[in-house]
Symmetry: C2
Subunit: 344 residues, 2 copies
DNA sequence: TTGTACGCGTTATCAT
DNA sequence: ATGATAACGCGTACAA
């Protein structure tokens, strides 16, 4: 049978309480005592029993990642998970995944249900959950701690998590397109409920304004974050009387759709039309031509969000909203604007 | 405070034991009693405390997915996770993720460490872990239950999990290429340790044999499952005096690399060279031209592996190795062999 | 700084 | 078919 705390206490010649103190890094333990305990624990290969710990401590030592199910297989989520796992491991926490269907009307109940069953000590929310005021308010009311990733909502006593200046990133992307000589730059916007939509759209407009290019509503189409949204948006845009020479998609999946539709029409990228994305998914490096896009440090975002959440769990005063850096990844899908278009 | 089993017992006018029996679907409970208990539980919104359950039951109600970290963001793993979660939820189990670096010499210890810490009731292993005899033997010795996905190894008292006839699938892919008129068909093989490498390579040879095409060692290059492996392999193949007219990559990531390198050289796909993959990742639909490949039902595989594992946990006699179907996804990356090549 | 003793909520054992 | 009670292994008041 496995060593218990009692065995360690006996071997070290101290009480169970002292062993507990050592393992939980509590103060008021003499260095010498601690070393004794650690040696005994090592010798017995002792590991605290997580269930017993939870039961006695009235905590689950568990945090839960809530994300939208259709996006369940996106590399965005996967990277966040990996980062989250890193943070959890370091602090003897576990991570749990809750892919829920956001489109279900009762997704708030689904989250509550999940909390009731598994009793996580905290939640990490990504969009669109991170932007759902009804959900956030409910969590606040329930006293459930949470961290958000890329949330537009400004709710909660202590708003914690990570954020990235998507607006500035988008503006920079447009500046890059302008530098390449583009004037007719279109945007396929993200889904209505994501903060990302508003930020990237605002950044797009910022970029145009700074370049002295008038905003043309015809060049902005509603879209989403999927490949098909990119295809549909591109159809609209390329059917225009004066089609754009560059298309900035709301994210990489959508940008792949843009390229797909462009190719379907026999256009070349970037010679005939330049394409820009957002996210830097693995696919953005693998497609041809490789996609110029904005990198979000998803793994770091997951790790940081978890760290801030765990800090807040330990101490309600702790935890912050951490801004993480983006990076423009200049690849091959963006090229000089076609001469013909320039002359128009 | 939350309702405990005692509260439910009192409300229903029965003992705690009976409530426990009802919740665990044990026999020897009168229908009438069960209904009483269920009504009381419903009224009190009672949820069993997982920690208490684990502690008293000496089980963690937790299964762990072990996979290679570099592949952490692959859609293959993501889909498996989703399937696994579905199975767990249905049986009141939790799922935990263990991305470990297989290339680390002590990955067996890393697995043991993870088991010691979190005490999962079972493991799900994917390649290359599923093929690691040393690991499997160690787990057998420790009495740890596990299910494998796509393992070539035939170990364990009760070998359980899922398997797919990759060899037959690969042969079918080659048959498809032959139908398109290809005779010089190359293969970029998978990484040495994966069962997938051997199966897909064997299927490739089967396919050639059936078409009466002599095996040419020059047309088979060592590779791996990454984009870069595809690029490197394609360089070798296209530098050949008699380059192939079709390239069958070990998987989709690698196939993307093949296409990338072909485009770099100014070749057209599929007019100049046809490309075939394996896995049906999301990217295979998004790239241009879309990739002809073999679909593996990863989500189902994850679900089934978890189900078999849970069955085996409950009853050591239970659990089986379930064969799942593949599907040829004919898309645009495969086309008729170039006339010039045919004449050679 | 260290130790004693109780309680966390459930399952398992053994009666009845 | 149902119930009483002792574990399960740890955290935490409280005492020393």
């Amino acid at each position: 049978m496995r060593a218990r705390i009692e065995d360690v206490a006996q071997a070290a010649g101290v009480s169970m309480t002292t062993v507990s103190r050592v393992f939980n890094k509590e103060p008021n333990v003499r260095e010498k005592t601690r070393l004794k305990v650690e040696a005994a624990a090592q010798a017995l290969d002792y590991r605290p029993n997580p269930s017993a710990r939870s039961l006695a401590g009235n905590r689950s030592y568990l945090i839960s990642l809530v994300y939208d199910d259709p996006a369940a297989a996106s590399s965005y989520i996967m990277e966040i998970i990996v980062g989250m796992l890193v943070a959890c491991e370091r602090q003897r926490y576990s991570a749990m995944l809750r892919p829920l269907e956001y489109s279900n009307a009762d997704h708030v109940r689904a989250v509550e249900e999940s909390i009731a069953q598994y009793r996580p000590d905290g939640l990490i929310l990504v969009p669109p959950f991170a932007d759902d005021l009804k959900l956030l308010r409910r969590l606040d009311a329930l006293g459930v701690r949470y961290a958000t990733i890329s949330a537009k909502a400004k709710l909660g006593h202590a708003r914690i998590g990570t954020i990235l200046d998507e607006r500035k990133a988008a503006a920079e992307m447009i500046a890059h397109a302008v530098e390449l000589g583009h004037r007719r730059i279109a945007h396929i916007a993200g889904p209505p409920l994501h903060g990302g939509r508003a930020w990237r759209l605002a950044g797009y407009r910022d970029g145009l304004r700074r370049a002295g290019i008038a905003y043309d509503a015809k060049l902005v189409v509603d879209g989403g974050f999927t490949f098909d949204d990119g295809v549909a948006g591109t159809r609209q845009l390329l059917d225009l009387k004066h089609p754009p020479t560059a298309i900035f998609a709301a994210n990489d999946d959508s940008a792949c759709g843009v390229m797909h539709e462009a190719f379907e029409r026999g256009l070349r990228v970037p010679q005939d039309v330049s394409v820009f994305g957002f996210d830097d998914t693995p696919a953005s490096r693998q497609i041809w031509p490789s996609l110029t896009t904005v990198r979000q440090p998803c793994r770091e975002m997951g790790r940081i969000a978890a760290e801030q959440l765990l800090a807040a769990i330990r101490d309600p005063q702790a935890g912050a909203l951490v801004r993480v850096p983006y990076e423009l990844m200049i690849r091959q899908s963006g090229g000089p604007a076609p001469a013909a278009a320039k002359r128009r």
